[in-house]
Structures are given as structure tokens and as C-alpha cells.
């Protein structure tokens, strides 16, 4: 595979090391003389010194018909133009572009760049994922932490889903005190059926919280 790596410092170094092999032909272009020298030294490969958004630099580096073009420069518009040149003039098959401004992800895609990566956006997504995991169980302590109130959302995969409370053999150490099923609140009894997406409010002692929660979250 012919891979062109345009711009970047640490990211370029990492990608070169990752893809340097006999089956890949790497073309490395960098507009910073010191970085270009560093990349040459640390990876023992030729690095073209020049701005990758200029026609003659790409021409000289012979990027024609490359399989992948990766633009890693710090300036979003520089990356945009180098990707476009590579694609339109040099017939590169796929372009990957890094952007600093996460709002540019959609803009670049709309303007025809194949793949746009924003580290800020990736970070935001993982923060969101983490926080939704945390949200799964909310806990509140009452009376000097002698009573614990936990909030659990039932998933369709749980063993207790779609069953009557009387039938699930709920641990004696805890109690489902309340079920919130949009838009109403249900005070459950033995004949209440637990449905997926129900929010259960469970009362336990701190010592037994884990045991009870494990019971609820047990998969089929």
C-alpha cells in the first residue's frame, strides 16, 4: 500500500513507525525543516521537505495514485487544501484529515474529504460514554449512610426484565420501593411486571447494596 503522510510531528512519527514495513511504501512530507530531519533520522526513511498544500511539492514527492493520504498539519485549511490537491490532481484513493476545530468535521465532510478526525470530538464522545455508564446507577445515602437508595435502569438483557416481582425471588436484604415508568410512578407489589427501560428505586443497607444490584443486573 502506498501511504502519504503530510505534516505533523509526533503523530507523523507514530504513524510512520506503525506502518513501516516492506509491504507499505511510505511517502513522508513535512514543511518544517527540523521536524523533517528528525523524522528522517529516527525512522531511517527519506522525508520530503516542503509544504504539502503546494502542487509542486506533491508532484516532486510523487504522491500520484497513492492509496491513502493522511494530512496531519496543525492548520485546518492547510490540511483541507492538501487533501483536495491529492484527491483531485494526484488521484489519491482515500484522504484522512485531522482537524483542530471539531466543528470543521462536518464542514470538511460536506466539502468532500473522505475521513475527518478531530481529537476533541473523540474526547467528547468518550466523556459522554463514561458519564452514561456512571448514570446507570445513582446512589443516595440517608440517615448517616445507614440506608442506601440506588437508581437502576432495567435493560432488556437483564434476567428480571418482563417478569413479575413475585416470581424473581428478589433478595430479602433489599426492596424495590418505587418504579418510574415514563410518564408515571408505580408503587410495586408482587404482581407488578418489570419492563425494560423501567427505572427502579431500590432501598438497601450499605452492606447489601452490591449483592442486590448484582442480582438486578444479572443477565439472562
Amino acid at each position: 500500500m502506498k501511504i502519504v503522510i503530510a505534516g505533523g510531528y509526533q503523530a507523523a512519527d507514530y504513524i510512520i513507525k506503525k506502518f513501516k514495513s516492506s509491504s507499505n511504501k511510505l511517502v513522508v512530507i513535512n514543511e518544517n525543516r527540523e521536524v523533517a530531519q528528525y523524522l528522517t533520522k529516527s525512522n531511517r526513511i527519506p522525508v520530503f521537505y516542503g509544504e504539502p498544500y503546494k502542487y509542486f511539492v506533491l508532484d516532486e514527492a510523487n504522491v500520484e495514485d497513492a492509496d491513502i493520504f493522511v494530512a496531519l498539519s496543525k492548520v485546518d485549511t492547510d490540511n483541507y487544501v492538501s487533501c483536495l490537491l491529492a484527491k483531485k490532481v494526484f488521484n489519491v484513493k482515500k484522504c484522512i484529515c485531522i482537524v483542530n476545530n471539531p466543528k470543521n468535521v462536518d464542514v470538511f465532510r460536506d466539502l468532500g474529504i473522505d475521513s475527518v478526525v478531530s481529537s476533541t470530538q473523540l474526547l467528547a464522545t468518550s466523556v459522554l460514554n463514561e458519564s452514561s455508564l456512571e448514570n446507570l446507577i445513582k446512589t443516595m445515602s440517608l440517615e448517616d449512610e445507614q440506608i442506601v437508595l440506588s437508581e437502576v435502569v432495567v435493560k432488556a438483557t437483564y434476567d428480571i426484565a418482563n417478569k413479575r416481582i413475585a416470581d424473581i425471588n428478589f433478595p430479602k436484604t433489599g426492596n424495590i420501593s418505587c418504579i418510574y415508568r415514563k410518564p408515571s410512578v408505580i408503587i410495586p407489589n408482587g404482581s407488578t411486571i418489570i419492563l425494560p427501560k423501567d427505572k427502579l428505586l431500590v432501598v438497601t443497607t450499605p452492606a447489601h447494596q452490591k449483592e442486590v444490584l448484582n442480582f438486578i443486573q444479572k443477565d439472562k
Binding site: 498544500y53 503546494k54 502542487y55 509542486f56 492548520v75 485546518d76 485549511t77 492547510d78 483541507y80 487544501v81 483536495l84 490537491l85 483531485k88 490532481v89 476545530n101 466543528k103 470543521n104 464542514v107 460536506d110 466539502l111 468532500g112
Partner: protein, 147 residues
């Protein structure tokens, strides 16, 4: 984004949006203003507007034109024409593509220092101005074709 009342919005319709207030952008803004056009000039550096003449009657806005939000604030969606004159070819190409592909501005003019970048505008009905080629042509005219 500030809400624009309908009355105010009509003020911004049919306007000329000038991106970059350098020597080229500011002189165009001054001339267009004398012709009585409705103009908004934008630049990331507030000092750039010192180049505008006292008679300039348009709006000025400070911001980064590579941000889509800012272009929207500058009413790019209702512009009649856009003249892109910053000193960076890459920014100019980027903004021209946004103006055509996202907002479909009727008339787009863009300044390009490097003639090689013209290929990026192919088939998009964007008109390019090449200051260096113009100077070279003028030089040839002044020389009267002598060798």
C-alpha cells in the same frame, strides 16, 4: 448568534461580503462603498479596518472566517456576492468552497497568489483573481512588447 429582526434582515440582503481587509480587500471595500453597495467587511485583526476610508459606509466584523459560525453571523447565506481576499490561498480556497457548496452564494470572487490552485476551483463557477499574473501582464504592456 444574535437574532435579526425582519426589518434588519432586509438591510443585509443583496449585500457584498468582503473577506479580508488587507490592501486588496480594503480598496475594494472603499470603491464598492462609493458605488453605494451594501457591504460587510470581515477580518480577524481589528486594526485592519484602519485601511478603510472615512467615507466607507458599510459594516465591519472581527472574526475567524475559517469558522462556519462566524460566516453565518456575517450573513453569508443571503449575500449577493462574496469577494475573498485574505493573504492565505488555503483559507481563500476553503471559504470559496464553503460559499459555493454550503451557502451557494450567486457570485464568488477569490484572490489566489498561486496560479496552481486554480485546479481546485474547476467546475464550481468561482472566479479567480491572480494579482501576480496581473502585475506581470501590466509590466508587459508597459514595456510595449519589447524584449
Amino acid at each position: 448568534m444574535k437574532k435579526v429582526t425582519p426589518k434588519k434582515r432586509s438591510l443585509f440582503k443583496n449585500k457584498t461580503l468582503i473577506i479580508g481587509c488587507g490592501r486588496l480587500g480594503s480598496s475594494m471595500a472603499n470603491k464598492c462603498s462609493l458605488e453605494g453597495k451594501n457591504i460587510i467587511v470581515v477580518d480577524k485583526n481589528p486594526d485592519a479596518f484602519d485601511r478603510l476610508s472615512d467615507a466607507f459606509g458599510g459594516l465591519t466584523m472581527v472574526g475567524d472566517v475559517t469558522h462556519l459560525d462566524f460566516l453565518q453571523e456575517a450573513h453569508i447565506s443571503t449575500a449577493k456576492e462574496i469577494i475573498i481576499t485574505t493573504g492565505d490561498d488555503n483559507i481563500n480556497v476553503f471559504v470559496a468552497h464553503i460559499a459555493r457548496k454550503i451557502f451557494d452564494v450567486p457570485e464568488i470572487y477569490v484572490r489566489l497568489d498561486s496560479p496552481e490552485n486554480e485546479v481546485l476551483l474547476k467546475g464550481l463557477a468561482i472566479k479567480a483573481i491572480f494579482p501576480f499574473e496581473l502585475s506581470y501582464d501590466k509590466f508587459n504592456v508597459l514595456r510595449g512588447g519589447r524584449k
